[in-house]
Amino acid sequence: MPPDLESRPSVAHVDASFEPLIPKFMTNRKKELTAMAEAVTQDDFNTILKIAHGMKGVSGSYGFPAMTAAAARLEQAAKSADVESINRQLTALASYLDRVQIVYVES
């Protein structure tokens, strides 16, 4: 079976000085996934677009490139109102948040 986003091991290399911010960062991303899952049931693509855009930016700044890429795909899916793709990305992101291993690196 080819590796996909759900099964691939995921390691994020994060600046060690960011460590105190990471618990809140993870909690806020999970809240955003919940909000987007709710929005997709109401065909509220604009909300998904905004949240995904923010997630893309903040995950890039914190050093989670896999999340940044998934959030960018989610943003595109929201732009084209593609419910199937949105659900796929939301599932992938939820799985990613659950299993990502953070390795702190000294800057």
Binding site: N28, G57, V58, G60, Y62
Partner: protein
């Protein structure tokens, strides 16, 4: 209360978006920045995690940081406070960064004040976005993700240096 004097090189700062990189003021070293302890920055971003990250990146510097969650709050704070530099996210609810900057620039003109440097924190470096920033009156822009070194170089390059007596 101080408002930074209109430095001789202010027009160059305002033109920095259009000017080629080579004509910009060279970035002072970090130790130079530390001799101006009263540089006050207004950071405008709707995402808490972004605000916390920038706050962390500036920890250990002498910069004073104030924050606002959207453009409308930023305009209010700008009009009632004194800032040497504004770091402004672009996409925000209530009032976005373009509208906030247009509002601040109009207010500065009305008040006869020198323009305070406003740096856009943009998600992309697309020509279209950069042009939109110019049109709104941003002084310059930084592309996210913002690296610590980029931020620490940009602040002394653009910040209006407060009068020395207030810096001591």
């Amino acid at each position: 209360m101080h408002k930074a004097p209109f430095p001789d090189d202010e027009p160059q700062r305002v033109e920095a978006l259009k000017a080629p990189a080579a004509t910009r003021k060279p970035a002072p070293t970090h130790s130079e920045a530390s001799i101006h302890p009263s540089v006050t920055i207004l950071l405008v971003d709707d995402m808490e995690d972004n605000r916390l990250l920038i706050t962390l990146l500036l920890k250990g510097t002498t910069y004073r940081l104030d924050t606002a969650e959207n453009g409308a709050i930023a305009v209010d704070k700008f009009q009632s406070g004194t800032y040497d530099l504004v770091l402004m996210d672009v996409q925000m609810p209530i009032m976005d960064g373009y509208q906030a900057t247009l509002t601040i620039r109009a207010w500065e003109r009305e008040q006869g004040r020198a323009p305070t440097p406003i740096i856009a924190l943009t998600a992309s470096a697309l020509t279209e976005d950069v042009e939109k920033c110019q049109a709104a009156g941003f002084t310059s822009h930084l592309t996210k993700p913002i690296k610590k070194t980029t931020l620490l170089e940009a602040i002394p390059r653009y910040a209006v240096t407060p009068p020395l007596e207030e810096a001591i």
